[in-house]
């Protein structure tokens, strides 16, 4: 099963996501802000990062920028899970480099399914890229 890093400063919400992921059999890692997440990403190399946007120390936008800048990490799939749910927030997140966007409150019945879809998508994308690279 894939390893998923949950980055979220709000403890109840972090625990909720960890609980849901583990309930569906994923290995879930946790970080409380971007800086902590960056260290963990480099050390643990998770398959997917689920990331809040507004956080202390380093927010989600800064984190995704760091990841995309790093040639080793650049392809890491990242999904924003955020209470920034006003018009334009989705576009802003996608433009900043996130692969997906889920608005809070999350729907616990579909949350994990959406992350699974994102994992499949990124794997398909990566294999297509590799195939294109070989041609």
């Amino acid at each position: 099963m894939a390893r998923i890093l949950v980055v979220e400063d709000n403890a109840p919400n972090r625990k909720l996501m960890l609980y849901l992921l583990r309930a569906f059999g994923y290995t879930a890692l946790e970080a409380r802000h971007g800086a902590e997440a960056l260290t963990m990403i480099r050390a643990e190399r998770p398959d997917l990062v689920v990331c809040d946007l507004q956080m202390p120390m380093m927010d989600g936008f800064a984190l995704v920028a760091e990841v995309r800048r790093d040639p080793v990490l650049a392809e890491l799939p990242m999904v924003a899970v955020t209470a920034l749910a006003l018009v334009g927030d989705r576009d802003r997140a996608l433009q900043a480099g996130f692969d997906g966007y889920i608005a809070k409150p999350i729907d616990p019945e579909t949350f994990v399914a959406e992350l699974r879809r994102q994992l499949l998508l990124s794997r398909a994308g990566a294999s297509t890229d590799r195939a294109a690279g070989h041609q």
Partner: protein
């Protein structure tokens, strides 16, 4: 003397007679000038057509009368006629302009020339007098003088504008009441001074007065707003127009300067600017507040709905019936709270005019199919049919897709909520008046006539639904505002107990 010489003399006399005759005819016929002869004492000897016209006397009436008859009482008392003759006698000629009297007693302004006539021996034979009526010219002169005086009075008494003249050298020549009021100098204090005294030091240093004068000379005019000094050294914001004044030959005569005190206007303008900036800042703060309110309210809701969900999904373990029911109430209440938050944010944005419309072509059939796809699961859950009635042909309108979707989802949701059995139908069509009507019809409980008016007000809940379906109480209100923002409206028809039809009417279907 021999005959030929006598004949010659006759010829000369004849020629002289003829010439004198012609001359007499010329004089007598002249109408514009009174031309007549006086004897050495001033008695009238001859009269011409002009004299008759000007003075009103016939030749018979006037011949032999003394010319003083033409003078006014004061002139007579002053001995003027005799004096004029005396001057003419000694100097050869007397000329003046003055009042003269007609036969009918009226006066006219006359130009008079009296010429002393001497014979070959130097003996005074009398006087020639030529008189011209200058009344008309005098009237025009008077009118001019009058209008000039009025103009001067007008300018000098204007209080709101400083209006004054500068000489070609830039020195103040005239001063009016406005100039005194605005600048604080009295005429006696400022006339003769260079106009640069009105400028603050930095403007003088920057060469402003010179630039103004040069520009006015070159282009005829200089206009600006800027700081000027009053006599007491205080500054005022002035609107200034400097105009070069030239005579008919093009020679520079000086400058007319009109200055207005715009200090108050400038203060109001600056005030307004500050207020606008403050307002913009307040709007921005409101936007930020709305964004963070949305964020802060969603964060705890995420945990509430999330953990309610995990419990209902029985992830931690089984639930008994009671627990399941109560958790479902928590869930629907939390969802209600969420819809309130969403609608309130929509409303705040709509009221602030913050909704940006993105006008694009929207296919009606496709739009309704999308709405049906979204709402059909809910309808099925409630045992209702949810249909889109087929149209003869589809219709593409230009509108904001998001606004249309939100309105129709609201109306569709409402229809489902208030229908216990039967169906909800969506349809569209272009009306006879060219408007596009999108209808959401249900077989629900309907609305009483007296309630229809209140329906679109915020937080209105009709009595019969007190225990019924819940909503934010803002859905129809937001929908109506949204409809207006895209140039449309929502109309309602309903028969209580039988069903309702909400119609989104859009212009230029």
């Amino acid at each position: 003397m021999n005959e030929p010489s006598i004949r010659n003399l006759h010829a000369i006399e004849r020629a002289l007679d003829e010439s004198e005759n012609r001359f007499r005819l010329l004089v007598e016929g002249t109408k514009e000038y009174a031309i007549f002869m006086l004897d050495e004492h001033g008695h009238i000897l001859s009269w011409n057509a002009g004299a008759r016209r000007l003075k009103g006397y016939t030749e018979e009436e006037i011949r032999g009368r003394h010319f003083s008859i033409f003078y006014t009482e004061p002139d007579l008392a002053d001995g003027k006629p005799a004096r004029e003759l005396q001057i003419a006698r000694t100097e050869g000629k007397y000329e003046e302009e003055g009042w003269r009297v007609r036969k009918d007693g009226t006066t006219f302004w006359a130009n008079v020339v009296i010429t002393a006539l001497y014979d070959a021996d130097g003996q005074l034979k009398g006087f020639g007098k030529v008189t011209r009526d200058l009344s008309e010219r005098r009237r025009i002169d008077e009118a001019l003088r009058h209008s000039e005086a009025q103009y001067r009075l007008l300018v000098s008494s204007v209080k709101d504008y400083a209006i004054f003249m500068l000489g070609p050298d830039g020195r103040v020549q005239t001063w009016n009441a406005g100039a005194e009021r605005i600048k604080g100098y009295k005429a006696s204090e400022i006339i003769g001074q260079h106009f640069s005294v009105f400028y603050p030091p930095e403007e003088i240093e920057a060469g402003k007065p010179v630039v103004e004068i040069d520009t006015a000379i070159r282009t005829g005019r200089w206009e600006e707003e800027g700081w000027r000094l009053r006599r007491d050294g205080t500054r005022f914001w002035a609107g200034v127009v400097l105009t070069a004044i030239r005579d008919e030959t093009g020679e520079l005569r000086g400058f007319a300067k009109v200055t207005r005190d715009l200090t108050e206007r400038r203060r109001l303008e600056l005030d307004l600017l500050h207020k606008n900036a403050a307002l913009e800042a307040a709007l921005l703060a409101k936007d930020r507040f709305l964004a963070s309110m949305s964020h802060e309210l969603r964060t705890p809701l995420n945990a509430i709905l999330g953990y309610t969900g995990t419990l209902l999904m029985r992830l931690p373990g089984p639930l008994n019936e009671e627990q399941d029911e109560q958790l479902n109430i928590v869930k629907s209440s939390a969802r209600h709270l969420l819809s309130l938050i969403n609608d309130l944010l929509d409303l705040a944005k709509l009221n602030a005019g913050k909704v940006e419309l993105n006008i694009e072509p929207v296919d009606c059939q496709q739009l309704l199919d999308e709405i049906a796809t979204t709402l059909r699961p809910l309808a099925t859950e409630r045992g209702l049919a949810f249909e889109v009635l087929p149209a003869e042909r589809t219709h593409v309108l230009r509108a904001d897709r998001r606004a249309l979707q939100q309105i129709l989802l609201n109306l569709g949701n409402n229809a489902l909520k208030f229908t216990r059995e039967g169906r909800v139908e969506l349809s569209f069509g272009v009306e006879a008046n060219g408007e596009l009507a999108i209808r959401v019809r249900d077989t629900g409980i309907g609305i009483r006539d007296e309630d229809k008016e209140r329906l679109f007000q915020p937080f209105v809940r009709l009595e019969e639904f007190a225990d019924g379906p819940t909503g934010s109480g803002l859905g129809l209100h937001v929908s109506q505002i949204l409809a207006k923002s895209i140039g449309g409206r929502i109309e309602v028809e309903s028969e209580f107990g039988c069903g309702s039809c909400f119609t989104l009417v859009l212009r230029g279907g």
